[in-house]
């Protein structure tokens, strides 16, 4: 099976690529992001490793991919991020505090919330997941997370896993054959 050009992936479709090892997985995510960039596609990246720049605040990390391309002010992005953090269960003061914190001072769960919010604000056509995103399944079963993640259901999802990672449950996944991403 060959993968369609990313722009033509049907809305709400679910794709899974299982690489042989960690190196292949990382390389495939790199390629997908490069393709999405080349197609000027609106996409979100949900990956835990290296997703936030440690010396920037969470607000700046959320703003960065948006402000890099579009003339959006940090203040307006931070305001929207605060609303979304409240949807995830952080009250107003705590949400403001989190947005001002450097990302290296955040707990893994808070960092994950920030990454999710960044994807939501981008209003993506495509979501690229590193399978390690689903390792906190217990937390993600909670209602606020479920409701917030549901806002991303309309986008096409591509999950990239290595050979040993468990698959996320609850979706009908279409497997992408190894090498398919290179044959565009």
């Amino acid at each position: 099976m060959k993968l369609l050009p990313l722009q033509q992936l049907p809305q709400g479709s679910r794709w899974l690529y299982r690489g042989q090892n960690l190196v292949e997985k990382e390389s495939v995510i790199d390629q997908l992001c490069a393709h999405a960039n080349a197609e000027q596609l609106s996409y979100g990246l949900l990956s835990l490793k290296g997703a936030l720049v440690s010396h920037l605040s969470l607000a700046e990390n959320i703003w960065l991919p948006i402000g890099w391309r579009l003339p959006r002010r940090l203040g307006s992005v931070a305001h929207r991020a605060r609303e979304l953090l409240q949807c995830l269960g952080y009250n107003g003061d705590r949400a403001s505090e989190l947005l001002q914190s450097r990302s290296r001072d955040l707990t893994p769960l808070e960092a994950q919330a920030g990454i999710l919010i960044r994807a939501l604000i981008l209003e993506p056509h495509l979501l690229i997941f590193d399978a390690d995103w689903f390792t906190r399944a217990q937390q993600q079963q909670q209602q606020p997370w479920q409701q917030t993640m549901a806002q991303l259901n309309g986008a096409a999802w591509i999950v990239v896993a290595d050979a040993e990672q468990p698959l996320p449950s609850g979706n009908q996944w279409t497997s992408i054959a190894p090498g398919a991403l290179l044959e565009r």
């Binding site: 990382e26 992001c33 490793k49 720049v53 440690s54 700046e60 960065l64 991919p65 890099w68």
Partner: protein, 237 residues
């Protein structure tokens, strides 16, 4: 030339990083630079007056020439590397090693614009600032430490003989060395990104290699630039 730089630089985090580095490298290094410049200036003037028997005013002028043409543009980047080179390489290395550079590229953001460019511009301006402190300290200490303590007379003579071309060339040399040193230490730090591909590159070895190569580059650059600009400074005497 300025347009592509402007496209890369005016991002808020990049600007903040630029001012942070400028403060760390160009302002907080004042004490070290002033101390070194003062010690060297006092020693030079003493040597020239006591051992060589030169007149005070002539010694002050000679000290100025040595500072602006030889020692200042060479030693200021060396101080910059000693104080900030390892910090820059570690900072870049940590970001790259934790996968943050890869994460930025995946989001379509150039890490060069976020960190390397602000760091290079800040390094260049810092060296220029440090050179100004160095020269000012040298003048003050050489005047104060000369045996015939005639401040106004010596300063008057000195300022009448100061050549603007010397100052501009010294600032350009220091700025260039600062930029090159920053780029080299950033590049060595960024190689920590290869760690996750089992290349066996540890951050401490990358940092020491980066600092060493930056020092060698500054020495070579100083040799090259002083050779190239020698005809200009000699004709301006």
């Amino acid at each position: 030339m300025a347009a592509p730089l402007f496209k890369l630089m005016p991002r808020l985090p990049a600007l903040r990083e630029f001012f942070r580095l400028l403060y760390l490298d160009g302002v907080r290094s004042v004490g070290l630079v002033v101390l070194m410049a003062a010690a060297l200036a006092a020693g030079e003037v003493r040597l020239m007056t006591d051992s060589l028997g030169l007149r005070s005013a002539y010694s002050v002028h000679l000290q100025w020439l040595v500072s602006v043409r030889v020692l200042g543009p060479l030693l200021v980047p060396v101080v910059f590397i000693a104080r900030s080179g390892a910090a820059i390489a570690v900072s870049v290395g940590e970001m790259a090693g934790k996968g943050e550079w890869r994460g930025l590229r995946r989001q379509g953001i150039n890490p060069f614009g976020i960190y390397v460019l602000p760091c290079t511009v800040a390094g260049s301006l810092s060296c220029m600032l440090l050179l100004c402190y160095w020269l000012a300290t040298g003048v003050i200490i050489s005047v104060v430490s000369s045996p015939n303590f005639d401040v106004l007379g010596e300063l008057d003579l000195l300022f009448s003989q100061i050549n603007g071309i010397d100052m501009v060339l010294a600032l350009l040399r220091a700025g260039l060395c600062g930029a090159v040193a920053s780029l080299i230490t950033c590049w060595w730090g960024s190689r920590a990104e290869l760690n996750d591909r089992d290349q066996g590159l540890s951050l401490p070895s990358l940092v020491s290699e980066g600092v060493l190569q930056a020092l060698v580059a500054v020495l070579l650059l100083d040799l090259l630039s002083s050779t190239l600009i020698q005809p200009i400074t000699l004709t301006s005497l």
